[in-house]
């Protein structure tokens, strides 16, 4: 029997197959687009910080407070990623900040194409601080370069101490890890020292800050980190996987002219 088509006899010719060598990175398109986003941001002096965590760790609360407390020091804009609903973008909009909601639908993470589209819609002012609130998920967003300057991973003390070991790819991707909700430490079984050790085990280069976004504990350290230059933060990618092509941002300790970007808010899907 013919192995190609299963026919009983061989009175017809099958075209020969050909093996084509590709040797191409699977995420080549995403990475190329992320590089374009990175250049686009660098040209306008925009610092992009990608916030990643599981749902409920306090990303949106931290953003609301950060926007209010940094008001006037530098224009701030936000890209909100969620599978569905504009609810988080609505919360950010109430702070008066420029925001664009990106609903990923079935998708579990933002990618560089969504980031590029969000930038088109948002058009952040030159010199902005641009926060990206990624889809709440500790696995998938770690793989996709958005062209951001820094990756910040948030864990809250109402989650397990061992999360860094259970989701090592995400914690390894982090430039900074924030341990949030420390005001709840007296009420929960969370070992702060053990958590720090677990973070160091998967990512010896990551900086770690503890804070409470609701009570305000240690937020000054977070703002100081945001104001610092990227190249002083240490590389979490000692393994060498991260491209060295990102912009080395300059300090924003000296505030740019006060003012916010326009209060526009659009939705892209």
């Amino acid at each position: 029997m013919c192995a190609t088509c299963g026919c009983g006899d061989h009175h017809h010719q099958h075209p020969a197959t050909e093996t084509v060598t590709l040797e191409e990175k699977v995420l080549a398109k995403n990475d190329a687009l992320a590089e374009r986003v990175r250049n686009r941001l660098a040209e306008r002096g925009i610092i992009a910080v990608n916030l990643m965590s599981s749902p409920g760790s306090g990303k949106t609360t931290l953003l609301e407070r950060t926007i209010r407390e940094l008001d006037g020091r530098r224009p701030i804009a936000v890209v909100e990623g969620d599978q569905e609903t504009p609810l988080d973008a609505d919360r950010i909009r109430r702070t008066g900040c420029a925001v664009v909601q990106v609903n990923t639908g079935a998708g579990c993470h933002l990618d560089a194409a969504m980031m590029n589209d969000a930038l088109d819609a948002l058009d952040p002012a030159t010199g902005s601080l641009l926060f990206v609130e990624n889809v709440g998920n500790l696995i998938c967003p770690a793989l996709f370069d958005l062209g951001e300057g820094d990756k910040v991973v948030i864990i809250s003390v109402t989650e397990g101490t061992d999360k860094p070991l259970k989701y090592p790819y995400m914690f390894r991707a982090a430039d900074l890890v924030l341990i949030n909700k420390i005001d709840l430490l007296p009420y929960v079984d969370f070992d702060l020292d053990a958590c720090r050790r677990h973070i160091a085990a998967v990512n010896p280069g990551a900086r770690v800050l503890t804070l409470s976004a609701t009570r305000g504990d240690n937020l000054a350290s977070w703002y100081a980190w945001l104001a610092g230059p990227t190249d002083r933060r240490g590389s979490a990618w000692a393994g060498g996987a991260r491209p060295d092509t990102g912009p080395h941002r300059t300090s924003y300790g000296t505030p740019a002219a006060p003012g916010r970007p326009g209060h526009s808010s659009r939705s892209v899907r």
């Binding site: 075209p15 020969a16 197959t17 050909e18 093996t19 084509v20 060598t21 590709l22 040797e23 191409e24 990175k25 699977v26 995420l27 080549a28 398109k29 995403n30 079935a106 998708g107 579990c108 993470h109 990618d111 696995i139 998938c140 770690a142 793989l143 996709f144 070991l165 090592p168 790819y169 390894r172 160091a200 085990a201 998967v202 010896p204 000692a238 393994g239 060498g240 996987a241």
Partner: protein
């Protein structure tokens, strides 16, 4: 399920390169430190090829083990665990293999 995005990315690249020729097999290389699960990728690939010139194609996965080089003791160690630690106990290591995520080749015609 980031494997679905990855499968779509593979199919998109393969279909562009194949033109109108049918694709029978696609071979990808997946490193042990990439957070990509081969079975999940095969499942998603079967969905992503539907209605394309690669409909029904087989996905072959070449597994690459992880290797790290210790900056303290200077040796290379094999590692399949995402916790990057040299057997000597040092965490000051460089990953030299295991992060591959590549489309190696395709069989067309």
């Amino acid at each position: 399920m980031h494997e679905l995005s990855i499968a779509r990315s593979i199919v998109e690249t393969v279909c562009e390169r194949a033109g109108d020729r049918p694709v029978h097999t696609v071979t990808v290389r997946v490193g042990a430190l990439t957070a990509v699960v081969p079975d999940a990728l095969r499942f998603c690939f079967a969905l992503a090829v539907e209605g394309t010139v690669a409909d029904g194609a087989r996905l072959a996965v070449e597994h690459r083990p992880g290797t790290l080089r210790c900056r303290r003791c200077g040796t290379d160690a094999r590692i399949d665990d995402p916790i990057l630690l040299c057997p000597c106990g040092s965490a000051d290591v460089a990953v030299i293999a295991g992060r591959e995520l590549q489309i190696v080749s395709m069989e067309v015609g």
